[in-house]
């Protein structure tokens, strides 16, 4: 008996020892020795880490007592796991957030530090940072500026004597010309990002208002109303006439991008964020942005859609708020923002930035045009957002616009009832 007890004790010790060895290996995560303060910068732009690292190096040189530890998640993961990681304040002293549902939830949870009146705000274009304000206070500053509009291949358009159409008939005619010449008019990633991106420009003139989806969410308007049924009907028209590539619902973002990059498709229903990626893969591409005008030319109120996103903020639970703010101020310097923009190919929301690349200037041309803040992001309930984009998929899959709108409205009605 006794030997057995000893053996068991030994066993427990082994387990503990194993755990001990493990923790020894895992140690050393927080080396805040020698008086330095480490702040964490959490965001989802994995493709921008090299540029950010350079900016961080410069920042650390100027502020030798601060160390910035950058952590990234992919954008899918960011929308889902970031909030849990942010709540304890150990990660993301400075963090980025998406406008819409995520911003609302984080604001409700009180994770933002009020930035109202900070001098850094003066560097930004006031119109473009509204997405980060709520109840009259500025909680976050959107850093990136994206135009959620189809990209088109200028060379192909020129070849067939086309210019960006001014009305719906013109748009259909242009598509037909392209199709007759064996070019896919629109590469559409129906399987993932397509509906969410393309719906914005499709709906902007059918209901030219900033708050139509807010009304839908509160029950004052319905998806079965004319504006959305019309939008769905127009989606169906494009699909039935073969203006998307075949089997568009099975196509994902990369494949749709590939069709455009190879010059097999004349338009790509995504957004300006993809311009520089495309250029990297095919430097010969001549790209521009255009929006389908779904009404007659004289009724068109908006020329395009923009989103200000990558909203930077200081975590209210940060243990080093001063240092975090300093880093945010550094990022808000025009020269740093310009460096970020030019190296990553993303437009920024700051004033008077000089862009060097062709792709950035393509988007910059739209700064003075009449654009609407992305309607999809005004839907703050994620289940509603999904119901809306899914109704587009339903129509492309063969449902009638009326039926699809009704099905989606049923889901939204349940959300209102909750």
């Amino acid at each position: 008996m006794k030997t057995q007890r000893t053996r068991l004790a030994l066993l427990l010790v082994m387990v503990l020892a194993l755990t001990g060895v493990l923790s020894a290996c895992g140690g050393g995560s927080d080396q805040a020795a020698n008086g330095k303060v480490t702040i964490s910068f959490l965001h989802w732009r994995g493709e921008d880490t090299q540029t950010f690292q350079k900016i961080i190096d410069a920042f650390e040189q100027k502020n030798p007592n601060i160390v910035v530890d950058m952590q990234t998640l992919t954008s899918d993961q960011y929308q889902t796991t970031a909030q849990a990681k942010l709540t304890d304040g150990s990660v993301g002293d400075v963090f980025a957030s998406f406008p819409g549902a995520q911003f609302e939830a984080l604001a409700k949870a009180g994770l933002f530090t009020d930035l109202t009146g900070e001098s850094l705000l003066k560097n930004y274009n006031a119109n473009l940072i509204e997405a980060g304000s709520k109840d009259g206070k500025q909680w976050a500053v959107p850093y990136q500026l994206v135009y959620n509009m189809p990209i088109y291949n200028k060379a192909i358009f020129e070849q067939y004597g086309l210019t960006p159409p001014k009305d719906w008939d013109g748009f259909l005619k242009a598509c037909q010309t392209l199709k007759d010449n064996g070019i896919i008019p629109i590469a559409f990633a129906g399987g993932d990002i397509g509906p969410g991106q393309f719906m914005n420009t499709m709906v902007m003139n059918n209901e030219p208002s900033e708050d139509i989806f807010t009304k839908v969410e509160s029950g004052q308007a319905k998806l079965t109303d004319e504006f959305w049924v019309k939008t769905l009907t127009q989606f169906k028209e494009l699909n039935d006439k073969g203006y998307f590539q075949p089997n568009s619902l099975g196509t994902k973002d990369p494949a749709a991008g590939a069709l455009f990059i190879q010059g097999k498709a004349a338009m790509l229903a995504s957004g300006s964020y993809q311009l520089s990626q495309n250029a990297k893969q095919n430097p010969e591409l001549q790209q521009g942005l255009l929006a389908p005008i779904t009404v007659s030319a004289d009724q068109a109120k908006y020329e395009g859609v923009h989103t200000s996103t990558f909203m930077l903020a200081v975590n209210s639970r940060s243990k080093h708020p001063e240092e975090a703010k300093k880093f945010l101020e550094f990022l808000s310097q025009p020269d740093i923002a310009a460096q970020y923009a030019n190296e990553t190919g993303q437009n920024v929301t700051l004033k008077d930035i000089k862009y060097d690349s062709k792709e950035l200037n393509i988007a910059q041309e739209w700064a003075d045009k009449k654009t609407l803040f992305q309607p999809r992001y005004t839907i703050v309930n994620a289940e509603n957002q999904k119901a809306v984009t899914n109704s587009i998929q339903a129509v492309l899959g063969g449902a009638t616009p009326e039926q699809a709108a009704q099905d989606a409205q049923a889901i939204i009605d349940q959300q209102i009832g909750r």
């Binding site: 493990l22 899918d76 990369p254 893969q281």
Partner: protein, 269 residues
């Protein structure tokens, strides 16, 4: 009859091999040649994708992270799991059944349910962003499956033999360590292989528990590549190949282990 078997064997073999061929071949193509000719043999075998990935990513660090977590987790789970299974089989009766049910109930709990509470628990314990925490948490989550499998196997060992052992005056530990464990060799190695794969490939728990780039495991790294190489198919497929490689090598090595472990003689033991 024989040729029917042959045909099935070869057809299914093709079904498994074709996608794998496609992935491996694509990883050696440049983006251009991939789009020009997705199915065919590459005109030139280019290592550029591999070089680019190793340049741009701390791949070795990711490998090491995955290896460490996997090895320790499997060791802990097998050890604790076999102890539990042994006790369950020995106890038998109502108590054994109850203990078995308690563990196996865990099989039906989806990880989505426990993710958030688990995360806040880990945080309260101060274990955020630690590979050790990941190891311990993963081990806890895999105990149900391990107990389920090992108990099933151990029940097949004859009870009389264990009885005889204890008649001879051998203590429980001795029966477990000297008799049951060696006889369970095949089932332990099969379970180990199972667990290895599961831990190595796990996505959800590491996703929740790890933050820093230098601590990512391979599947997380792969998800990150998906974000970084959005329109670059060949780079993504290269990522798939590289992350699978250690498992493949291990599998070739374990394979013998596996099949000899499962031959008639040893199971009948």
């Amino acid at each position: 009859m024989k040729w029917v078997g042959r045909i099935i064997m070869i057809l299914y073999g093709l079904l498994v091999a074709a996608p794998l061929y496609f992935v491996v071949v694509s990883s050696f193509k440049t983006s251009q040649s991939f789009y020009a000719n997705p199915l065919g043999w590459p005109d030139t075998w280019s290592l550029q994708n591999f070089i680019t990935i190793f340049d741009a990513q701390p791949m070795l660090q990711y490998f090491w992270n995955s290896a460490r977590v996997t090895l320790f987790t499997v060791a802990i789970v097998l050890f604790l799991g076999s102890l539990i299974s042994y006790a369950i089989v020995r106890l038998g009766g109502r108590l054994g059944k109850f203990a078995f049910a308690y563990f196996v109930a865990g099989l039906i709990i989806p990880s989505q349910v426990i993710m958030l509470p688990l995360y806040s628990l880990v945080r309260q314990l101060g274990w955020s962003d630690s590979l050790t925490a990941l190891t311990v948490v993963t081990a806890a989550g895999l105990l149900p499956l391990t107990v389920f499998t090992l108990t099933g196997f151990m029940e097949m060992l004859s009870k009389e033999m264990m009885e005889a052992g204890s008649m001879d005056g051998a203590g429980e530990w001795k029966i477990y360590w000297r008799l049951v464990l060696p006889l369970s060799g095949p089932s332990l190695s099969a379970t180990a292989a199972f667990l290895f794969v599961m831990v190595w490939n796990d996505l959800l728990i590491p996703l929740m528990l790890l933050n820093s780039t230098e601590k990512l495991t391979l599947p997380l790294a792969l998800m990150q590549f998906r974000g970084e190489y959005v329109t670059d198919y060949t780079m993504l497929l290269t990522g798939v190949v590289i992350t699978a490689l250690p498992m493949v090598i291990l599998f070739v090595f374990l394979q013998r282990f596996f099949v000899t472990g499962l031959t008639a003689g040893s199971v009948k033991g």
